[in-house]
Symmetry: C2
Subunit: 184 residues, 2 copies
């Protein structure tokens, strides 16, 4: 089952490495901003959580702004470097976004889409990969449930993430994405 | 089948993006070296191929030198940056190694281990992931065959890679790794 393996790969090859280092990266980021302005500082209970978007359609685009103009890239966190599988100083980077609510108030958080969903989407389009568009939604759900199970059992990752499952059959609503993120 | 999905993910999420850009990165790297010395320049038919190590044991370590002191990290290629799934300027980096032959002659090439094999290895150790150590070798072979099939059919990747399957039951031989790489 493709989604099962991709969830494990996402955890073992990324979340397990990056989530424990997130608090330190957020601290460094906030210190660097003090010199400029308080805008964009990460505070509150959201501060050092990686918000991970999981659209049920597996439609992941490079720029979240294209889905909702209230979601706006702000800056990157200081990058993390690790030696992995022969690659020296492989870089891991996370992006901070501002999310505007209905009153125009900006909230800052660390946000990205679950990259393995891109693989699921492209595999379903590629004939030879073994599964089709009709099974895709099922595979996204399996990815979500497997990942949730792994993360809940992981002491390294606890309290450092938030999985946001998006039933994007409603995605035509102009501010669907920002509203969903703010609900969490 | 885990290995099948990981091979597709390795292609769709990494090789398909990076291999077409390798020649340009090698050119930039060689130009940058001209200022310093000719040492480490990438030339010859190996020059812009990514050499990908696939150990059958799925034992992938961070530093290839630990396996064979004749394999030595030299420098990184100029990094590539891409906006992916909400992460701005995600960095993709490849490492150049010098490989000494039996006469002490140094040969330079772009080298790394297939990162998804790390996932396979760790999954087989983790009880809950669904497959065990005995199935691991089989899964590595399936990964290799699936990946080879995908890459041979891909116009973007042709001539930009070399898959090196390592039957590392012989890995106790001190210069097994360098010898295998140079055979290719
Ligand atoms: N050698 C190497 N260098 C890279 O830069 C790289 N980037 C990806 N990959 C491998 O290609 C495949 C597809 O990648 P994808 O991004 O869909 O999944 C990735 C992605 O969802 C997440 N991840 C890993 N590194 C990052 C990163 N830097 N930023 C965001 N997400 C990341 O965790 C998954 C597993 O990563 P790896 O287990 O390192 O191997 C991947 C994977 O097998 C790489 N392999």
């Amino acid at each position: 089952n493709v989604a099962h393996g991709l969830a494990w790969s996402f955890y073992l090859g990324y979340l397990k490495l990056v989530l424990p280092l997130l608090e330190a990266a957020v601290e460094k980021y906030n210190v660097q901003r003090r010199g400029l302005s308080a805008e964009g500082a990460l505070g509150g209970p959201w501060a050092s959580r990686l918000h991970i978007l999981l659209p049920l359609s597996a439609s992941v685009c490079a720029h979240l702004e294209d889905d909702d103009p209230r979601v706006c890239f702000h800056d990157n966190l200081p990058p993390m470097e690790m030696d992995r599988a022969g690659v020296r100083k492989r870089v891991f980077k996370n992006s901070v976004y501002s999310i505007r609510d209905a009153n125009g108030q900006a909230h800052y958080c660390i946000l990205e889409s679950a990259t393995p969903l891109l693989t699921l989407h492209q595999m379903s389009e590629e004939g030879s990969a073994g599964f089709g568009v009709s099974e895709r939604r099922q595979q996204v759900l399996l990815f979500y449930r497997t990942l949730r199970g792994i993360l809940e059992a992981s002491p390294d990752c606890r309290n450092h993430y938030r999985l946001i499952l998006l039933d994007d059959t409603n995605a035509s609503e102009p501010h669907f994405l920002s509203t969903e993120i703010l609900k969490h």
